[in-house]
């Protein structure tokens, strides 16, 4: 049983020579086995939250804390966070020319586990995970994300999550840009990870669509750099009806 705890997190980025605050006091606690959906309009800071937890150097934490079972995550380097069990499925995964998917996966697995995976079981694991995500075997020999379609990139992110078995996974708009079939395939992959492991999940999304396939335990509405409202899955239904409008008008008082 692990806990990822975010307390009063303030994050800024450098913009036009000045510093711009984007996260303005985020509180969130995720435990193993829980799935949290974070929903919010464009530009509300969802990716900023994801990147800040993962340690992207572009984002400067100006206040608050992130801890994993009491350990200070913000003190860790990006790779230390990954080895501690954090995983970020990126909204825009980058290309790594000349590095094959198969080499990349094995290198990452070795780095996370601190030892090379047993060859025979590893090859089998990779193959079955790829089959589950309806990825052709030829992907293993292609260069990471090079020439991948949007949907293929997202599958590749989920593939990594399945193989690396993190304690906490943050999925940043994994659903966006997917057609219905791809969405189902990706959701199945996510659900396999949820069932197989005691993973805690932070599912960032703009739309309620994916929540039909992945039922969250908690829903947080994210507006203007912080959580504006939280509830159970029914909150997502309410958003489906009324959209984000009622959160966007500044509350009086």
């Amino acid at each position: 049983m692990a806990t990822l705890e975010i307390r009063d997190l303030h994050v800024s980025v450098e913009a036009d020579g000045g510093s711009k605050e984007i996260l303005r006091g985020v509180d969130l606690t995720i435990r193993s086995g829980e799935t949290h959906a974070i929903m919010g309009p464009n530009g509300s800071g969802k990716s900023t939250l994801a990147y800040s937890i993962a340690g992207h150097p572009k984002y400067e934490v100006t206040g608050g804390s992130v801890t994993l079972d009491g350990e200070d995550v913000l003190e860790m380097s990006v790779d230390e966070r990954a080895r501690a069990g954090l995983f970020l499925a990126m909204q825009y995964p980058v290309e790594v020319p000349g590095v094959t998917v198969s080499n990349f996966l094995r290198t990452a697995k070795t780095a996370i586990d601190g030892e090379a995976p047993k060859l025979r079981t590893w090859v089998k694991d990779v193959r079955s995970a790829m089959e589950g995500l309806r990825m052709d075997a030829s992907f293993a020999e292609r260069n990471v994300n090079e020439g991948f379609s949007g949907g293929e990139k997202k599958r590749h992110e989920i593939l990594q999550m399945e193989l690396l078995r993190p304690k906490f996974a943050i999925l940043d708009e994994t659903d966006s840009g997917l057609d219905v079939d791809a969405l189902k395939v990706v959701s199945e992959g996510v659900n396999r990870v949820r069932q197989g492991n005691d993973v805690g999940m932070l599912l960032i999304t703009h739309y309620t669509r994916i929540l039909r396939y992945i039922t969250p335990d908690f829903v947080h509405v994210f507006v203007d750099g912080k959580v504006a409202e939280q509830g159970g899955p029914e909150l997502a239904d309410a958003l489906e009806e009324s959209g984000y409008d009622r959160f966007l008008t500044p509350a009086a008082g």
Partner: protein, 433 residues
């Protein structure tokens, strides 16, 4: 006819860090003051070349003080040792320039090459008989032992032969070397020149490639060692239907000047050329120069050519110059284009790999390895490829941890300044004629 002229800025794969002081220079066609590349003098006589001042177009990028001794004939005292390992049937001989039949596919193109020619000394011939198909490469090792040397090598591939010849430059000293590659009609020849000198070595070489009718020649240059390496490769076609590929790879460390100058002269009809060089630079004073001149003469109808140079600047202070220059004198061609991109290390790639658990040094190594992987594979000699990859990794290992410390704090990245990814470098846009 399609003319593609681009000077890609590397937003896609090679991103920049604003505020960095690393210089990445890239010039499009049009900055070269020479009237035409065709007007450049070639001669066997030293006297036909004035002693350069360092301001000439062809010398202005070179570290003048470190090479100026090579302008005099007397600079060479001895012939370098050449170790040969050749499969059965290959003729290997040594002698004077005359005795090995040098000069039918080679004319000095600058003062150093002419001085080396005039200094004479020992020349070598590697001859692959007509229609011979070699399963094993010919391996030549030129070993410098500290002195100043000149030398000339003729590689003569008979018609319809198929062979790979590897010339490896190792050791120390100052070397002027001429190489003359002649591929007969229908020959398929791969010539690999490796510059793996010890530090301190200086080499200025000219390598001429003469492509026969319907012959296919791959010229592959890999430069990792030495203090100064200036390698000029000139390709000409003896008859129609020839296909030349010039591939190259260099890794410049602090204090190294690695310069590759290509000239592909299309005069015969229906010939192809493809040039691709990739370089990485690390360390304050690391320097690389790449000049890619392609001339399509009026007679060269049906020509197809493309040239590409890509540089990856790993640390601040390193400088890569890249000058593609395409001259086209006829419209009756299949296609012609060039691209040049100089980019800095991509922080987004680094973040992606680190977020998958790779320590920063390992992530950098993987990216550089990936950058070189495809071109390295095209050497086609697995043993050589593996050795070169190991050398590259060793270079990264010894210098990268220090380099890494300069850009990312060891612990905690929450207070990092913003290195926005995906921005353009200061590589200049193509200046189109």
């Amino acid at each position: 006819m399609t003319v593609v002229e681009e000077n890609r800025t590397p937003g896609d794969e090679l991103a920049d860090t604003p505020g960095a002081t690393g210089r990445a220079h890239s010039h499009g066609a049009g900055t070269v003051p020479d009237a035409s590349r065709a007007a450049r003098r070639t001669s066997f006589e030293v006297a036909d070349f004035a002693v350069p001042t360092g301001r000439e177009e062809e010398w202005r990028f070179s570290p003048f003080a470190r090479i100026k001794a090579l302008f005099e004939v007397a600079a060479a005292e001895s012939a370098p040792a050449l170790e040969v390992s050749a499969p059965e049937g290959v003729e290997v001989r040594s002698g004077s320039l005359e005795e090995v039949g040098a000069g039918t596919g080679f004319v000095p193109g600058d003062r150093v090459a002419a001085a080396a020619w005039q200094a004479g000394g020992q020349a070598h011939l590697v001859r692959i008989p007509a229609e011979a198909e070699l399963d094993e490469p010919v391996l030549l090792t030129l070993r410098g032992t500290g002195g100043a040397t000149s030398g000339h090598l003729v590689v003569d591939a008979g018609r319809h032969s198929r062979a790979t010849v590897v010339l490896d430059h190792v050791g120390s000293g100052t070397h002027r070397g001429g190489v003359e590659v002649r591929a007969g009609d229908g020959a398929q020849l791969t010539f690999v020149t490796l510059q793996e000198w010890d530090s301190g070595a200086v080499q200025v070489s000219q390598q001429d490639v003469l492509v026969g009718r319907d012959a296919t020649v791959k010229h592959f240059a890999v430069t990792l060692g030495g203090d100064v390496v200036r390698l000029s490769t000139n390709v000409r076609y003896a008859a129609p239907g020839g296909d030349a590929q010039c591939l190259g790879l260099y890794f410049s460390d602090a204090g190294q000047h690695l310069e590759h100058r290509l000239f592909v002269d299309h005069e015969a009809t229906h010939c192809k050329s493809y040039v691709e060089y990739k370089g990485a630079l690390q360390g304050e004073t690391a320097r690389s120069v790449w000049i890619g001149d392609v001339l399509i003469r009026a007679a060269a109808e049906g020509t197809e050519t493309y040239e590409l140079n890509r540089n990856l600047v790993l640390t601040d202070g390193a400088r890569a110059d890249s000058v593609p220059n395409l001259e086209i004198e006829t419209g009756e061609i299949v296609g012609a284009g060039h691209a040049s991109a100089t980019g800095r290390f991509d922080d987004e790639q680094l973040f992606y790999l680190q977020s998958r658990g790779l320590a920063e040094a390992d992530a950098r190594r993987l990216v550089v390895r990936g950058f070189f992987a495809d071109i390295l594979q095209r050497i086609g000699v697995p043993a050589v490829q593996e050795r070169l990859l190991a050398t590259i990794e060793t270079e990264l290992e010894t210098t990268m941890p220090a380099a890494a410390g300069a850009t990312v704090p060891a612990a905690g990245s929450s207070t990092m300044p913003a290195p926005a990814g995906g921005q353009q470098t200061d590589a200049e846009k193509a200046e189109e004629n």
